[in-house]
Amino acid sequence: MDELVEQLKSHIIRVLRLEDVQPEKIDPEAPLFKQGLGLDSIDALELIMMLEREYGIRITSIEVGWKAFASVKALAGFIREQRDCHGEK
C-alpha cells in the first residue's frame, strides 16, 4: 500500500467534504476531474491550497496543475518529485 496515496485520499475527502465517499472507493488511477470523482474548478482551488498547507508545495502553472491533478497516483508522484527536487525525503 502506498502511504502517500492513502494520505492524499483522506485529505481530498476531508478538504472537499466528500462525505459519501470512502477512501477505498477512490481509484488512485482514475481522473480526479470531470470523470472519476467528478471534481470541478473550485475543488481544484481547494486542492491547490491543500497542497500548500499540507506539503508546502506550490502549483506554478496551469500545465503543471493539469499533470499533477490527473489522478491521486499522479498527485502522489508530483509530491515525491517536488520533494526530490528540494532534497527532502
Binding site: R17, L18, E19, D20, I42, D43, L45, E46, M49, E52
Partner: protein, 380 residues
C-alpha cells in the same frame, strides 16, 4: 367569523422546519474567549441527511444546509410546485453563514493570507442561502437575503408579501434561519448574558424558576407562499392575513406600555377585519428570561382583557432556544396548528382559553430585544 382575504396577503402552501434535538446540550466556548460551557439548543450535526444530496451538501455552509433542508420540506409539503421565473426566494438571517465565515477568516488570519479556503468564502457571502435554494429548485424570480438582527425573518416575509401583491412573482419560498456558533454565543455574553444555570427553557411557566437570561439555539423554517386566488394549491387553506412591526425603545423593557401593545396587535388584525376576540391562540416569543417573560405576562393580561378574557396562550422557544430568526419557527408552528385545526402538542400552553375548540386563527407576537415588536396573523 370568516375575514375577507386582503389581496396583499398570501396563502401558505407548504411548511418546513429544522429544529434542535432536545434536550439542550452543553456547548464548549472558545478557550480564547474565556472557555467554559453553555447549555444550547443545537440541530443535528447533519440536518440535511435524507433531504439534500451529499454532492450538493458538501459545498454548503451550516446555515445553507439548515435553510435548504427547511425549504425542501416546505416544497415537498406544498406538493413540489415551485420553479421558473415566477418563483422568488426570500431569506432572512440574523448572522448569515457564521461558521463558514469563521473558518475562512481564521485561516486567513492564522496563515497570514497564505492559503485561503475558496469554498468557505463562497458559502460565507451575503446571499449564499437564498442562492442555494434558488439553484436547488430552479427559482428564477426575485432572490433576496435580508439581514437585520432579530427582525430579519419578518422583513424577508414582508418583502415576499409585497412581491406577491405587486405580481412580480407567483410563488415564493420564504426561509429563515441562524446557526449556533461558539464564537457568537461567547460574544453575546458581553451584552446579553445567557443564563448561568444549566436549566432548559420553560418560558412563562408558573412552576419554573425565574432565571435571568435565555439559552442560545439554532434552526430554520421555510414557507412556500402563493397569491390568494393564484394558480397554486386551491386546497391550501391557511393564509397569512396580517404582518406588523412596531419600533420601541430597545433598552426599556419596563417602559413598554400594554395599551400600545394591544393597539399594535389590533392594527395587525384590522386589515383582515378581525379583532382580538377572533384569536383562538396567541403564540408568544417568550424565551424564559425572567425580565422578558414579565413583559409578556403584562401584555397578555391586557390582550386577554381586550379579547374578552378567554384567550389561549402558547410558547415555543423551549423547542429551539433563542436565536435571531426563531420567530420563523413560531410562524411555522402557527401555520401548522391552523392547518390541522388543533393545538399541536409541541406548543406549551400557558393559558388554555378556548383551547378545546378548533384552532382556526393564530396570532404570533414577539418582543425582540433590538426594540422591535412583531406580530403575524395566520388563519383560514
Amino acid at each position: 367569523m370568516n375575514p375577507t382575504v386582503p389581496p396583499e396577503f398570501a396563502t401558505i402552501e407548504g411548511l418546513g422546519q429544522v429544529r434542535p434535538t432536545l434536550p439542550p446540550q452543553p456547548l464548549a466556548m472558545p478557550t480564547g474567549l474565556g472557555g467554559g460551557e453553555c447549555l444550547a439548543y443545537a440541530c443535528p450535526a447533519q440536518p440535511h441527511q435524507g433531504c439534500v444530496s451529499p454532492a450538493v451538501a458538501r459545498r454548503l455552509s451550516r446555515l445553507q444546509l439548515l435553510t435548504l433542508t427547511a425549504a425542501h420540506r416546505a416544497v415537498q409539503d406544498g406538493g413540489g410546485l415551485i420553479a421558473g421565473p415566477g418563483a422568488g426566494v426570500f431569506v432572512g438571517t440574523g448572522l448569515g453563514s457564521l461558521g463558514a465565515t469563521v473558518e475562512f477568516l481564521e485561516d486567513v488570519i492564522r496563515r497570514d493570507e497564505a492559503s485561503p479556503m475558496p469554498a468557505r468564502f463562497i458559502t460565507s457571502v451575503h446571499n449564499a442561502s437564498a442562492s442555494a435554494i434558488a439553484i436547488e429548485f430552479q427559482c428564477q424570480g426575485e432572490n433576496r437575503t435580508t439581514t437585520h438582527d432579530s427582525i430579519s425573518f419578518e422583513l424577508a416575509l414582508g418583502q415576499a408579501l409585497t412581491a406577491l401583491r405587486l405580481g412580480r412573482i407567483e410563488r415564493a419560498v420564504v426561509a429563515a434561519g441562524d446557526e449556533l456558533h461558539p464564537y457568537h454565543v461567547a460574544a453575546m455574553n458581553h451584552c446579553q448574558p445567557w443564563r448561568k444555570k444549566a436549566e432548559a427553557l420553560a418560558p412563562l411557566s408558573p412552576t419554573a424558576a425565574r432565571l435571568h437570561g435565555s439559552l442560545p439555539g439554532e434552526g430554520a423554517a421555510a414557507f412556500v407562499l402563493g397569491r390568494p386566488g393564484g394558480n397554486g394549491r386551491p386546497e391550501a387553506s391557511v393564509c397569512i392575513r396580517g404582518l406588523g412591526l412596531a419600533p420601541r425603545p430597545a433598552a426599556d423593557l419596563g417602559g413598554i406600555r400594554t395599551e400600545d401593545e394591544v393597539a399594535f396587535l389590533q392594527k395587525v388584525l384590522h386589515p383582515a377585519n378581525a379583532t382580538l376576540a377572533d384569536v383562538d391562540l396567541i403564540l408568544l416569543g417568550a424565551d424564559g428570561d425572567a425580565a422578558l417573560d414579565a413583559v409578556y405576562g403584562r401584555v397578555i393580561q391586557a390582550v386577554g382583557a381586550a379579547a374578552g378574557g378567554d384567550l389561549a396562550v402558547g410558547v415555543f422557544k423551549h423547542l429551539c432556544g433563542e436565536f435571531a430568526t426563531a420567530s420563523a419557527l413560531g410562524l411555522a408552528l402557527a401555520g401548522d396548528a391552523v392547518r390541522q385545526g388543533r393545538l399541536l402538542p409541541d406548543i406549551a400552553l400557558i393559558a388554555s382559553g378556548r383551547a378545546d375548540n378548533r384552532i382556526d386563527n393564530v396570532l404570533t407576537y414577539t418582543i425582540h430585544r433590538n426594540g422591535f415588536h412583531s406580530a403575524c396573523w395566520v388563519s383560514r
